[in-house]
């Protein structure tokens, strides 16, 4: 009788442990890499240093590429397909484009949380949300990529609240305000009313 009770208790503890481990392993830990990068002075500077400026809608098709040796030295990027709605600078053929984003996801194992690793305060584009993107050709990633982390991506339809919440510095707020004011006439027709 005592043995049976012990087995039940042991099974309960084991189940609890396994459920906790799986739950922990399926959670997502957000990690920021700290970087020093070019700081764009203003909207003109940003425009001048990019090959392609577009208004686009993010799709669900997004895949991370890992570079580097192995743990602990992982790094990488993510390729996200977007629907191009308007081209402000540069030339493009077709309405679909694969954009390099400065973040990636990694799975370090069953019992460790998955990792969403961003460069600085960049936030991944959200499916269905619309963005004004400042892109530079990336010879290593072989795609147009968001330039200068969060300096190259601006949600225009207010459906990506996380993006604005992550803007910390005074300069980034100022640049953001200036960019959105500058391109307001162009982006207006692509703004969706989320309310």
């Amino acid at each position: 009788m005592i043995k049976k009770k012990n087995i039940i208790v042991a099974m309960f503890v084991l189940t609890l442990f396994l459920v906790s481990a799986l739950f922990y392993g399926n959670s997502v830990e957000r990690i920021e890499y700290q970087a020093i990068a070019k700081t764009f002075r203003d909207a003109d500077d940003l425009l001048a240093h990019n090959d392609l400026v577009i208004i686009a809608e993010a799709t669900e098709n997004s895949e991370s590429t890992l570079l580097g040796d192995s743990t602990p030295d992982i790094w990488g990027y993510t390729l996200t397909e977007v629907k191009v709605l308007n081209v402000i600078k540069g030339a493009l053929e077709g309405a679909d484009l694969t954009v390099g984003e400065p973040y990636f996801t990694a799975d370090p194992g069953l019992v460790l949380p998955k990792q969403l690793i961003t460069y600085e305060t960049y936030t991944p584009m959200k499916e269905g949300s619309r963005y004004l993107l400042f892109l530079k050709w990336h010879p290593g990633w072989e795609c147009y990529a968001v330039n200068g982390f969060d300096q190259g991506k601006y949600n225009i339809d207010n459906t990506d609240r996380e993006e604005l919440a992550m803007v910390k510095s005074k300069h980034r707020h100022q640049l953001r305000r200036e960019v959105l004011e500058r391109y307001q006439p162009v982006v207006e027709e692509f703004i969706k009313d989320s309310n």
């Binding site: 970087a35 990068a37 700081t39 240093h49 030295d73």
Partner: protein
């Protein structure tokens, strides 16, 4: 009359207190991470990967380790030729592999019972200790933007500062001007007295 003099003295005193408080260097977690290397400062090493010399960054890396080591007797960052992982600042140089316009980045890694774990710099800021810092320099983007040699040396010094638990500081008036730990590039090849003050606050004189 006396009352007027008294008011002037009190006002001046209050203004002085406000100014001193405002201008005083801030060593809180806004400028210095709570977390740190688990190893002692005198046991730290830096490992320049072969890519460092291949892209011509040896001078910048040696200068950063040397200048920070000179700033505190509690620090002695020795150069090693093989990577021991623990207590290590590992430096790598890549060419057009980081996100566009990124000159360099730093990552923090902790060895736990479950293996190596990458830690967010925000976690280190808030108190997580670590065993390894990895600096990655993008030669391609530094050269494409025309960074001078002095500016490249500053970039590496800046990243070493992060590895030693220093954050950015550029808020006036206490931190006006250029320092290694400002968040934009300048041409300083040595840490300023403000940089050193933050370092010794963290590591000791």
């Amino acid at each position: 009359m006396r009352r007027k003099q008294f008011s002037i003295v009190i006002t001046a005193l209050l203004l002085s207190i406000v100014f001193v408080f405002y201008a005083h260097a801030d060593y809180s977690t806004a400028h210095v991470y709570k977390g740190n290397f688990k190893q002692k400062g005198t046991d730290l090493v830096y490992f320049p990967d072969s890519s460092v010399s291949a892209y011509g960054w040896t001078g910048a890396v040696d200068n950063a380790a040397s200048k920070w080591s000179q700033a505190s007797t509690q620090l002695n960052i020795r150069k090693v030729s093989s990577d021991p992982n623990f207590g290590t600042i590992a430096v790598f140089v890549v060419n057009n592999q980081l996100p566009p316009s990124a000159y360099a980045l730093i990552t923090f890694h902790e060895h736990t019972s479950l293996g190596w774990r990458t830690r967010s710099w925000t976690a280190v800021r808030d108190g997580t200790n670590f065993d390894r810092a990895r600096i990655q320099i993008d030669h391609g983007y530094c050269m494409a933007d025309g960074l001078t040699q002095n500016e490249r040396w500053m970039v590496v010094g800046h990243e070493f500062g992060h590895a030693l638990s220093l954050d950015h500081f550029c808020n006036p008036p206490a931190h006006s001007g250029s320092h290694w730990q400002t968040n934009s590039v300048n041409a300083l090849t040595s840490p300023t007295s403000t940089d050193k003050a933050h370092l010794t606050w963290k590591w000791g004189n």
